[in-house]
Structure formats: structure tokens, C-alpha cells
């Protein structure tokens, strides 16, 4: 199966149009083997459409891509045989038992006999489901379902695994545990192609691509992206009336973006050098400010900024 190429995925000018709407617009990038590749973007930006083209379930309107050396247009069957895929819905048969789900997905890839027995044992161990093989999947709680879905998606030991928002709707503890499993997989040499809209998860990735309105607007390691795309100063503000302060800041000149980051306010003040002026302005506006200090921009700050810049560009055009 190994074709000797350094890249697990190579995308060239990939485009998908639905009628007049261009969901994915001439996207090009590579994903080296063994990498955890994060594919980020807001809802409706074209993430899922791109993944579906790369999995060979829908055909592109233009451009092309190879996945593990197989052409997604000419040979989607080979692509589907060699990849794994897991979506946010987990796609387990809820009215079948743990064992029946494993048996089905193994059978689909032609895994039988001793190899099935070994893979089954491995997945049950990994998902912490030993002793619950005969339980209906519907009765499992979400963390177990998620791990079983991962087990089903990797039952044939694919070299490349697509994960489409695998952690959405899962509590933070389960998300952390799930990422541990993904690291384990990556260590065995599996390439992971992950979409997420949790920006904190972006830091788990070796490399990131950010897609917005169907176009790729940034790609690189988290550090590269920060260095290349972020020259603005970010202030972290702890205020009394967070909502009120947010609305007030949104209308200030000299504030590029203001948004919530956890319980804090993040304020992008562009290239202003007098950060604490904002705190004074807020106080003058009648708000209680507990703390205001410049911080190193997070990946989330970078992407909020990138989206903001795109919006301003679109508005100017």
C-alpha cells in the first residue's frame, strides 16, 4: 500500500460548486505522513465538503487530490479502502451491540478470523469496553460511544484517519482523553486529518490550515501562523460587566476586535503601543476593570483576526 510519497494527502486547486454557490474554492495544500493536521474554520466554511471530496464520497467540480497516492477522482474506491473516517455523529448502529458494530465494520473491510479477534481485543481495550461487548450501543454514554466509533473507524488499521469534528458535544474531560488516544495513534505513524471548531484543540496539531468562505487563508505550524499573520496587540481584560464592556468596546475606534475568551475579554488593539489606555477608557465609560494586560496571541486570536480582516476586505470590495 505504501507508495513511498512523503505526503499522505496532496490537494491541488480543489473546487466544489453547488449551483452558483462555491463551497470550496481552488484549495491547495499538502499533509505530510505522520502529521496531525488541523483543518479549521467556522461552520459552513467548506471543511466538511473538502473532507467528503478527499474521502471520495462526492466528486470535485474542479482540481484534484491524491490520498495515500490514490486519485480521489479516478479511483475513489481505493481511497475508501485505505482510509478511516469518523464524524461527529459517531455513526454507530445504536440498535446493535458493541460486538455487532465491530463485526459489521470489520466485515466491510474483509477482516475476519484471527485478525478480527486481535483487532476486536485491541479496540475493546482501547475503548475500555471489555465485558460490555453485548451491550446495546445506545446505552453507552458519550465518551464510550466516541471511543467505540474511533475503534470502528480504525478497525482496518488505516494509514490515514479523517476526523470531522470528532469532539463536538463531548465534555472537556472526555475531549482530553480522546486527544490522548489520537496522540497514541499518531505515535504509531498514522496521519490524522482533524477538523474542529474548538480553537484550544488546534494547539494539539502539528500543522493547521484555516479555511474561510471556501478559501484557504492561512496554513502552517501554530507558531508560523502566529508569526506570519499576527502583528496586532492583544489585551486580556477582566471586567465587571463583561457583556456591557464587550458592546461598548465593539463601537470604539482603535479597537479592531473584541470578543470573549473564556470568562475574559480579548481586545485586539491593532498596533497601538499604549495598551493601558483601553483600561482607562473603559473606566471612564463607567465599567469596573479588574485587570488589563497585553498577552501573547492565541491561535483563536489569530483566527478571529483573520476572519475579521477577511470581512473588512469583503466589505470594502
Amino acid at each position: 500500500m505504501r507508495d513511498g510519497r512523503a505526503n499522505a494527502v496532496e490537494v491541488r486547486g480543489l473546487t466544489k460548486r453547488f449551483g452558483d454557490f462555491t463551497a470550496v474554492d481552488a484549495v491547495s495544500f499538502d499533509v505530510p505522513r505522520g502529521e496531525i493536521f488541523g483543518f479549521l474554520g467556522p461552520n459552513g466554511s467548506g471543511k466538511t465538503t473538502t473532507i467528503r471530496m478527499l474521502c471520495g464520497t462526492i466528486g470535485p467540480s474542479g482540481g484534484g487530490a491524491t490520498v495515500l497516492g490514490h486519485d480521489v477522482v479516478a479511483d475513489p474506491e481505493s481511497v475508501r479502502r485505505s482510509i478511516g473516517y469518523m464524524s461527529q455523529k459517531f455513526a454507530l448502529f445504536e440498535d446493535m451491540t458493541v460486538d455487532e458494530n465491530l463485526r459489521f465494520y470489520a466485515g466491510v473491510y474483509g477482516i475476519e478470523g484471527e485478525r478480527f479477534a486481535a483487532r476486536r481485543r485491541y479496540v475493546l481495550d482501547m475503548a475500555d469496553l471489555v465485558g460490555r461487548e453485548r451491550e446495546l450501543t445506545a446505552n453507552l454514554s458519550v465518551g464510550w460511544k466516541q471511543r467505540l466509533a474511533l475503534g470502528c473507524a480504525t478497525i482496518h488499521e488505516p494509514e490515514l484517519l479523517f476526523l470531522d469534528e470528532p469532539t463536538s458535544g463531548v465534555d472537556p474531560t472526555a475531549r482530553r482523553q480522546f486527544w490522548e488516544l489520537l496522540y497514541d495513534l499518531a505515535e504509531t505513524g498514522v496521519t490524522l486529518f482533524v477538523t474542529t471548531h474548538y480553537m484550544d484543540e488546534a494547539t494539539h496539531c502539528n500543522r493547521l490550515a484555516f479555511i474561510y468562505n471556501g478559501r484557504l487563508i492561512a496554513i502552517g505550524s501554530p507558531q508560523q501562523i502566529r508569526d506570519e499573520h499576527m502583528t496586532d496587540q492583544i489585551l486580556e481584560v477582566e471586567a465587571g460587566d463583561v457583556e456591557g464592556a464587550l458592546a461598548w468596546l465593539g463601537e470604539r475606534a482603535g479597537v479592531r476586535e473584541a470578543y470573549l475568551s473564556g470568562a475574559m475579554l480579548h481586545v485586539n488593539v491593532g498596533e497601538r503601543t499604549d495598551p493601558c489606555a483601553v483600561a482607562d477608557e473603559l473606566r471612564a465609560g463607567g465599567f469596573v476593570v479588574h485587570r488589563c494586560e497585553p498577552v501573547e496571541p492565541t491561535i483563536e486570536d489569530v483566527f478571529v483576526h483573520l476572519v475579521g480582516a477577511q470581512r473588512r476586505e469583503a466589505a470594502d470590495a
Binding site: G59, F93, F104, G107
Partner: protein, 372 residues
């Protein structure tokens, strides 16, 4: 195309089917319930009609006439009245639906060989009971007359209807027509309702999407999905035919090959409908509503309940667009009368056209939806 994967999909389908209480009810309970409902309620015999006898003659002969009504089982004499004017209030209060008026001098006039009118008053507000009751009453009087004449030994005596209608039994005929129709209707429901439910459920849960990123092809998926339901519908058809034959005593005078051919052609239409519904429904509720949307006009316009002959002329052309119409003709004519392909070919051709158009259009739509 891998037979192994198709087998796996079928195994999966049956496993899920076993565990789905809704589908299980639909498949097993629904045909039996409908069979008994339509067999007994719609095709029911009208019996024990409350009846008043107004005997103005009061002779042995007039009492024999009254007794003929009672012994038939269709009428129950709830009132013996002396005066005709007492009928109206009883009819108004729904205490009787029929009154039999025996005129004075019945015995004497009959003895003289005269024609004697016996008046039957029927409450026409329930047209079905009214027509059945007047039919029964005419039969009872006719048969009474015949026996009397035979006893007298006079052939061709006046006032006798020579036409034999003793064997005519409207209730039996209704069931005989109902059961073959039910076979087709239930097949349509299983194939389109259950099929669309099963596909939509899979889309709702995301398993449909998942399957198409595995080596499973669309063709394998469709065959693996449809085959279990075809087998299930065969089982349903067998249940209905057996219960119809042994419980409702519906005679089978036709050929299994003709009935089978008719059902096979119809099955593809029903499958097409189910697939089509699944492509326009996002939830199982929508699929259910989609099924109802097709079911009701089908039941009303196909001749399943109301004879097409009795429909207004403007409606009749519409009935040609209802696929169930054709299979009903095939099933009923072959089942009861043994009509063969020489007579039924126009219906079979119409059904072949329908199944080809509906099935392939739905298939194309289904494949397109999967591709987007």
C-alpha cells in the same frame, strides 16, 4: 459488487429490524390488524337489522311471511305493530331500520292466485344498510314465494320472480374482493413505509454517510437494504393469503404465477415510492407523513374501498395514475375468476411501465442525493 458485503448488510438490517419495536409492529401487527379490520368491518355482513312487522292480515300465511324474515338471520323483529302509522316514530328514533307491511287479505288473495304487494319500508339514511336490507328482503320474499308455489304444484303462478338470486351473498363477495386487495395494499405499505423509515433512520444517525466512506458501494448498499424488506413483504403476503384462505374462506381460483407476476411488478413501484419518500424526508416523522400523503389518495382512488364505476366521471381519469388500481384488477380477477394473461395483459403492461418509471426515477434521485 461483493456478495460478502451484501450479506453483511442484510445481516445488519435483520439485526436492527429485530430490535426496532416500531418496525416490528408495522410489519407483523399491521397486516393482521388490517386483515381483520377490513375483513370484518368493511366487508361485514349486515345482520340483525331491527325490523318491525305490521301484519294486517293475521292469518297462518301472513305469520309464515313474518317467520321467513325472522329465520333468515338478517332481520330481528323488534316490534309487532298493528298500525302502519306507528312505524314513523320508531324509524325516527333508530329503533328499527326496516318495516314489513303485510296487507289485509294476503292469504285470501294468494289463494285466489292474485299478485299481492308486500311493502318493505327501508331507512335510507344509511345507504349501505338500506341497499343490503332491501336486497335481502326481496330474496326472502322471492324464496318464500317459490316454496309456496312449489308446494302448490302450479308452475308460473303470477307474482313470482323466476330469477334465482338465492346464491347471491353480498357479504361474502365483499370479503372476497377485499382480501386480494389487502395483499397489494399491505405490500405497498411495507415496501414504501418501512423502506423509507429504514433509510431515513440511517441518514438521521449518520451511518449512511459512514458507510459510503467504506468500501461499500451504492449498489451493494441498495441491494443489502432492499432485499430484507422484499423477503419480509413475501412473508406478509403469505400470512394474508393463508389467513384469507383458511379463516375468511376466500377461495383461490387463480394461478400463483399470475398473482406473483402482478405483485412483483407492483413491488418495484412500491419500492420506488419508498426510496422517493426517503429522498425528500429528513426525519422519520416526515417520512411517515410522506407515506400517508400517498396512502390516502391511493386507498380512495384505486377502487380498493369504493368501486371506480361509482366515482364521478371527472375523477375516473385520475384513477389511471394510481398504480394500485392495476394490481387490484389483476389480483381480484385472477384470484376469483382465474382470469389469465390474455385478459390481464393491459394491466400488467401498465404496471411494468409504472414500476420502471417510478423505481428508476427514485433510484436516480437517491443516487444524486447521496452524491451531493
Amino acid at each position: 459488487m461483493s456478495l460478502k458485503r451484501i450479506g453483511l448488510l442484510m445481516w445488519k438490517e435483520f439485526t436492527q429490524f429485530k430490535r426496532d419495536p416500531l418496525l416490528l409492529r408495522l410489519v407483523i401487527v399491521m397486516p393482521i390488524l388490517q386483515l381483520f379490520m377490513f375483513g370484518y368491518v368493511v366487508g361485514a355482513d349486515v345482520r340483525n337489522i331491527p325490523t318491525a312487522i305490521v301484519d294486517a292480515d293475521k292469518t297462518p300465511m301472513s305469520r309464515q311471511v313474518a317467520a321467513a324474515f325472522t329465520s333468515s338471520g338478517y332481520f330481528v323483529v323488534t316490534a309487532n305493530l298493528a298500525d302502519e302509522r306507528a312505524i314513523q316514530p320508531l324509524l325516527d328514533r333508530n329503533q328499527i331500520q326496516v318495516a314489513v307491511l303485510i296487507p289485509p287479505g294476503l292469504e285470501a288473495d294468494l289463494a285466489r292466485g292474485r299478485q299481492v304487494p308486500v311493502e318493505i319500508v327501508v331507512d335510507g339514511s344509511d345507504s349501505k344498510t338500506a341497499s343490503v336490507a332491501s336486497g335481502y328482503a326481496a330474496q326472502i320474499l322471492g324464496s318464500f314465494n317459490r316454496k309456496r308455489v312449489a308446494a302448490l304444484g302450479i308452475a308460473g303462478a303470477p307474482g313470482i320472480d323466476p330469477r334465482t338470486r338465492v346464491l347471491f351473498n353480498p357479504s361474502l363477495r365483499a370479503v372476497n374482493a377485499m382480501i386480494p386487495g389487502l395483499v397489494a395494499l399491505i405490500m405497498m405499505l411495507s415496501m414504501s413505509a418501512i423502506m423509507s423509515q429504514a433509510v431515513v433512520k440511517e441518514r438521521e444517525r449518520g451511518t449512511l454517510e459512514q458507510m459510503f466512506v467504506t468500501p461499500i458501494t451504492r449498489g451493494e448498499y441498495l441491494i443489502g437494504k432492499v432485499t430484507p424488506y422484499i423477503l419480509i413483504s413475501f412473508l406478509q403476503v403469505a400470512i394474508i393469503m393463508l389467513v384469507g384462505h383458511y379463516w375468511f374462506q376466500v377461495p383461490f381460483n387463480g394461478s400463483v404465477a399470475v398473482v406473483g407476476l402482478g405483485l412483483l411488478l407492483f413491488m418495484f413501484t412500491a419500492l420506488g415510492q419508498g426510496l422517493f419518500i426517503s429522498t425528500i424526508s429528513r426525519t422519520r416523522q416526515q417520512a411517515q407523513q410522506g407515506t400517508m400523503f400517498i396512502l390516502i389518495p391511493t386507498m380512495v382512488l384505486s377502487g380498493f374501498i369504493f368501486p371506480i364505476e361509482s366515482m364521478p366521471a371527472a375523477v375516473v381519469p385520475v384513477t389511471y395514475l394510481v398504480p394500485l388500481r392495476y394490481v387490484l384488477v389483476v389480483l381480484r380477477s385472477n384470484w376469483m375468476k382465474g382470469a389469465g394473461l390474455d385478459v390481464l395483459w393491459p394491466q400488467l403492461v401498465a404496471m411494468a411501465v409504472f414500476s420502471a418509471v417510478v423505481f428508476f426515477a427514485a433510484l436516480a434521485r437517491f443516487r444524486k442525493r447521496l452524491a451531493d
